[in-house]
């Protein structure tokens, strides 16, 4: 009799079971200290740990010794994801930036590496997709909002600097102005 083990469906089920045992620390089942007092888990457990480490490590890019340096994609372990998702995951994992700061791109724009039309086209496409994903209120409202949003985004990207994280330097005057505006926006 043949059993198919590790069909994906079965895998998903055992995952959920694991979730249910949420905050119970793993019992040291089948791994009583040996005669020499050393901790000796069962073979299956040891293999499972080794396997787990290997799989967890797949996100790490290989490092070749310098003698044989070759270029490689540092996000090679994430190529199964769409590019933008992979960058988000890698930046989270490695505490890194995935894109240049805005001024660097603005400089490239000024140097002619891209034209304002190129950027505008990308912004237009983004706004259209994004609005389409929102609740459908009404096309008239959409049209106005879309136009305004496009202009603001183009201005934001081309004419303003990027706030660095932790950039908070409000002065009293502005706080007051904010309150006078009634809080919104």
């Amino acid at each position: 009799m043949t059993n198919a083990v590790f069909d994906k469906a079965a895998g998903a089920a055992s995952d959920a079971r694991g979730q249910a045992d949420a905050d119970v620390p793993a019992a040291a089942a089948g791994s009583a200290p040996g005669a020499d007092g050393k901790h000796r888990p069962a073979l299956g457990k040891k293999l499972k740990i080794r396997s787990m480490v290997s799989v967890a490590g797949e996100v790490l890019p290989f490092f070749w010794p310098m003698r044989n340096f070759i270029h490689h994609n540092p996000l090679h372990g994430l190529e199964h994801l769409p590019f933008e998702d992979a960058v988000a995951e890698a930046t989270r994992l490695f505490h890194a930036r995935g894109w240049l700061p805005r001024p660097a791109y603005q400089r490239m724009l000024a140097d002619g590496a891209m034209q304002p039309d190129d950027l505008a086209a990308e912004i237009d496409a983004f706004v259209a997709t994004w609005l389409a994903d929102q609740d459908d209120d009404g096309d008239a409202a959409h049209g106005e909002v879309a136009a305004l949003l496009r202009e603001l985004l183009l201005a934001m990207m081309t004419a303003t600097s990027q706030p660095s994280p932790g950039d908070r330097e409000p002065c009293a005057e502005e706080v007051l102005a904010c309150l006078r505006r009634g809080g919104q926006g």
Partner: protein, 110 residues
């Protein structure tokens, strides 16, 4: 004098992508498995489930199959060891009860 002895074993057929072969063989080695066979360049087609995660194979991918026969308890340990691996990677293990007939030294009684 030799006679045929029959032992009850489990046959494991482990199908994985070619690039994962070394990992699986290393695992078998650490489980103390005495021997295995590798069949190369299989092609497979998978059931197209509703969700990508349930695909067994990617269409026309090149796969390998690793075959080994081990006692039941080792088989258990190997399957446990492969669990984290198969949670991430495509593939399948077929596990079958088999009998292996081998010539072994005849043990006279007493």
């Amino acid at each position: 004098m030799h006679e045929l002895k029959h032992s009850q074993l489990k046959k494991l057929e482990i199908i994985v992508q070619g690039e994962q072969q070394d990992f699986v063989l290393d695992l078998l080695e650490r489980a103390g498995v005495s021997g295995w066979t590798v069949v190369h360049n299989l092609s497979g087609k998978g059931s197209h489930g509703a969700h990508d995660a349930h695909l067994m194979f990617n269409e026309d991918d090149v796969l390998v199959m690793i075959i080994t026969a081990v006692p039941a308890d080792i088989a258990e340990a190997i399957l446990e060891g492969l669990t984290p691996f198969f949670n991430r990677h495509m593939g399948v293990v077929f596990s079958t009860d088999i009998q292996v007939s081998r010539l072994a030294k005849f043990q006279p009684p007493g």
